[in-house]
């Protein structure tokens, strides 16, 4: 809930700045409900979590202040660098798989042909399914004894998909990509359709081929779209939980235990709310730093200089 409120406030801000000063009053007023929700469900719990990270609490008894002991326990635990590493690995690899695939599919779907529109609808289907349902389905398909490979007697598909550390990580990245490529393709489709056709016409007169056009016009013109989509992918992958929880439960061993899963296990299975809150705080910080970095990469103000004559 907090996250739906947050951008609403930001959007309100930019609009107020962009429009004339006289109209900013009522617009600011309209942002109030969103601001209220954001404070109640975003900021207050965030401060609560930060406070809890300096306390000892099992979720049932009284909350005792514990100073830095949770932080010390979390930072000393070899599980933390491992979880951070797995989180970044999932983030980077799923980004590296999704981005090129989404751009290509997006460019393909931007064409106005009828069959492409039908394909677009089909591509969209994974996005309609819940993560838990996807995870359960894949788990059944990948079962080494009763799954797809065993059923069709295809040796290549009959692997211990979720039982080998590297394979399990690969499966997680594959399923995440399968689930979210449609969404990012949609963003790229919109981005490609915004590129003025005059640029392609000019390129054609200059004798540029399809591939040249793609690398010299489409890709540079998609710069901002790539940044938006990458921000969504990276920050979103920090909160991957449901899919991994159902698919592998963080296993085998701790091969796919991302930070969000680590937080859940510490807080709700091991009853250690203090260290879990410390991890939650780390998650928030990592998310903030990442998002800021990506915005910096985008070059903020230069956004306007993308159209004709750039």
């Amino acid at each position: 809930v907090s996250t739906t409120a947050a951008p609403a406030v930001m959007r309100g801000d930019t609009r107020a700045r962009g429009s004339s000063a006289g109209r900013s009053g009522p617009v600011a007023w309209m942002a109030l409900p969103a601001l209220g929700f954001f404070i109640a469900f975003g900021l207050v719990p965030l401060l609560g979590v930060f406070g809890l990270s300096f306390a000892q609490w099992d979720g049932i008894g009284a909350i005792h202040p514990a100073g830095f002991s949770s932080w010390r326990a979390v930072l000393k635990d070899p599980g933390l660098p491992h979880s951070l590493w797995v989180t970044f690995l999932v983030m980077f690899l799923s980004w590296a798989v999704q981005t090129p695939a989404s751009i290509l599919i997006g460019v393909f779907l931007a064409g106005r042909q009828r069959y492409r529109e039908i394909l677009a609808v089909l591509y969209f289907i994974p996005l309609l399914l819940s993560s838990a349902a996807i995870a359960i389905t894949y788990k059944a398909l990948l079962d080494p004894n009763f799954g797809l490979g065993a059923g069709l007697h295809i040796g290549l598909l009959t692997q211990d998909w979720l039982g080998k550390e590297k394979l399990a990580l690969g499966v997680v990245i594959f399923v995440v990509s399968w689930q979210f490529i449609p969404f990012h393709s949609l963003i790229y489709q919109g981005g490609v359709r915004q590129i003025p056709t005059s640029m392609y016409e000019a390129a054609e007169i200059d004798g540029a081929g399809r591939v040249r056009q793609f690398f010299s016009i489409t890709l540079p013109q998609l710069k901002n779209t790539i940044i938006t989509s990458s921000t969504l992918m990276t920050v979103g992958s920090l909160t991957f939980f449901d899919l991994i929880f159902v698919l592998t439960g963080g296993g085998p061993g701790d091969a796919t235990r991302v930070l969000a899963l680590d937080m859940y296990k510490l807080g709700f299975q091991a009853n250690l709310m203090g260290p879990a809150s410390a991890i939650a705080t780390i998650l928030v910080l990592v998310g903030l730093v990442l998002a800021l970095l990506l915005r910096r990469l985008g070059g903020g103000a230069a956004a306007g200089s993308q159209l004709e004559g750039a």
Binding site: V1, S2, T3, T4, A6, P7, F41, G42, P45, L46, G48, V49, L52, W57, D58, G59, I60, G61, A62, S131, A132, A140, L142, D143, N145, F146, Q159, D160, L162, G163, E165, F180, T231, L232, V235, G236, L238, T239, D242, T248, G251, P252, D254, M263, L266, G267, F268, Q269, A270, N271, L272, M273, A276, S277, A280, L283, V284, G287, L288, A291
Partner: protein, 448 residues
């Protein structure tokens, strides 16, 4: 959850990660169950609340017991609310933490019950049992261990006893001409025999982790005796490094190295019953599992059980081991506690429920009909006349004849230690930690 997740991705949220943190705080803080709180917090006289698990056949039997009680006591009603297993485990914790617990708390005893007792959230029933010896004496005495914390009884044992047994597929044993293992040596010798016949020796739902734990529970007991884990339970320093513990962990890895378990066991979960399917479809010859599995195999593969193909036995002794071969592990029962936040009237209703309704003859019969042994003494005659007589007599014999009936480790230990334990067991079965590393990791959470 999904809509939240999608919207999270739809927006350029700097605070997307914060959402997870917010969720943590919201759940931990005050997300108590609003719909069902009336019974406990509302304090309306004449009615108590009772939360328990869904899922056949237990749910129906629990509901029938409540119905019988309500019909017999029109003025003192019990209001029942049911939950799915995993959801319940989280919900009951948050509800108790928020002071919104039901009057009667259904649970597993052991370490979980201890957290509630330490927080002063459940009623001490020691004196009540002393005043009502009839209630106490009709139940298996071994079932009280997991309800007793520092010499005080905090829960009423209920329902059925569920020891872990070794199941085997008789057809496959005939096919390769093998006999059920009488010792651990026999068991290890069976491994290459089945493997060369293209049959996996053991089925295992390794992704569920507690399934692997059952193996260690028996190996620890058979090799070093019950005192090895008892020392861990008592919080003795470095007790996981006991030479017998290391030996048990080493034997465990020997079996894994010898390909004792079906290929890909770490991808198999117990909740999907895929591990049971491997046994009755003839892909695996043996399986170590809880007694509750008998009922579910009976449902999933009725012909297999009816045809007498399902064999079962106690875990074999280890040559030269110190443990008593009659020792067993599992769930010695289920546990009903009374919330200390309930009103005096509600507590009285709960106690009346414990005395008159829990494991009444009618309820016991329902459990027996589903192939389970209720924790009531002297049901042998009823068991003998049931359709699963042979099986029930076996379970009754194992449970009542056990020199020690140990509670499952993950239930006996505190939730904190249990999570570390399951985690390290998964790594031990992955062969990514050695027995010594396992002991070192586990020594760090002793007494936590």
């Amino acid at each position: 959850v999904e809509s939240m997740f999608t919207s999270r991705r739809n927006f350029l949220g700097l605070l997307a990660a914060g959402g997870a943190a917010a969720g943590l705080a919201a759940c931990g803080g005050n997300s108590g169950p609003k719909s069902s709180s009336g019974g406990a917090a509302g304090g309306s006289s004449g009615s108590a609340s009772y939360w328990y698990l869904t899922g056949a056949p237990g749910e129906g039997i629990r509901t029938d017991t409540v119905k019988r009680f309500n019909a017999a006591n029109p003025n003192t009603q019990i209001k029942a609310t049911t939950f799915q297993n995993d959801a319940y485990k989280t919900k009951i914790k948050t509800a108790i933490g928020a002071g919104q617990a039901p009057t009667i708390i259904w649970g597993w005893g052991g370490g979980g019950l201890k957290t509630f007792a330490d927080a002063g959230q459940v009623e001490d029933l020691t004196s009540w049992f002393a005043q009502n010896p009839a209630v106490k004496n009709r139940l298996f005495q071994s079932s009280f261990d997991a309800a007793t914390i520092n010499g005080k009884i905090y829960a009423m044992p209920a329902e059925t006893v569920q020891p872990i047994v070794l199941y085997y597929n008789k057809k496959l044993f005939d096919k390769v001409g093998a006999q059920p293992p009488q010792t651990w040596g026999d068991l290890m010798a069976l491994v290459p025999k089945f493997n060369s016949a293209g049959i996996a020796p053991f089925s295992l739902g390794g992704q569920s982790r507690w399934t692997n734990m059952m193996w260690l529970e028996f190996l620890f007991d058979r090799i070093g005796g019950g005192q090895v884990f008892q020392a861990v339970f008592n919080g003795e320093k470095n007790s996981w490094s006991n030479p017998d513990a290391i030996k048990a962990l080493t034997e465990m890895q020997n079996l894994i190295k010898a390909n004792g378990f079906i290929k890909g066991f770490s991808s198999i979960t117990a909740d999907s019953n895929a591990d049971q399917a491997l046994l009755y479809t003839g892909k695996a010859a043996m399986m170590l599992h809880g007694s509750w599995v008998y009922g579910s195999i009976g449902t999933l593969a009725a012909d297999f059980v009816k045809g007498g193909n399902l064999g079962y036995m106690s875990f074999p002794p280890v040559d030269g081991g110190k443990g008593d071969p009659t020792d067993t592990v599992g769930n010695p029962g289920q546990y009903l506690s009374i919330s200390s936040k309930a009103t005096a009237e509600q507590k009285d209703i709960a106690k009346k429920f414990f005395t008159t309704a829990v494991l009444s003859d009618a309820e016991s019969k329902e459990w027996i009909d589903t192939g389970s042994v209720p924790i009531v003494k002297g049901t042998d005659s009823v068991l003998a006349s049931s359709k699963d007589a042979e099986w029930l007599k076996f379970v009754y014999g194992v449970s009542s004849g056990a020199k020690q009936f140990a509670q499952s480790w993950d239930q006996a230990l505190s939730p904190t230690a249990a999570e570390t334990l399951l985690d390290n067991i998964a790594k031990l079965f992955q062969m990514s930690v050695s027995p010594q590393q396992f002991a070192t990791n586990m020594n760090q959470v002793i007494g936590k």
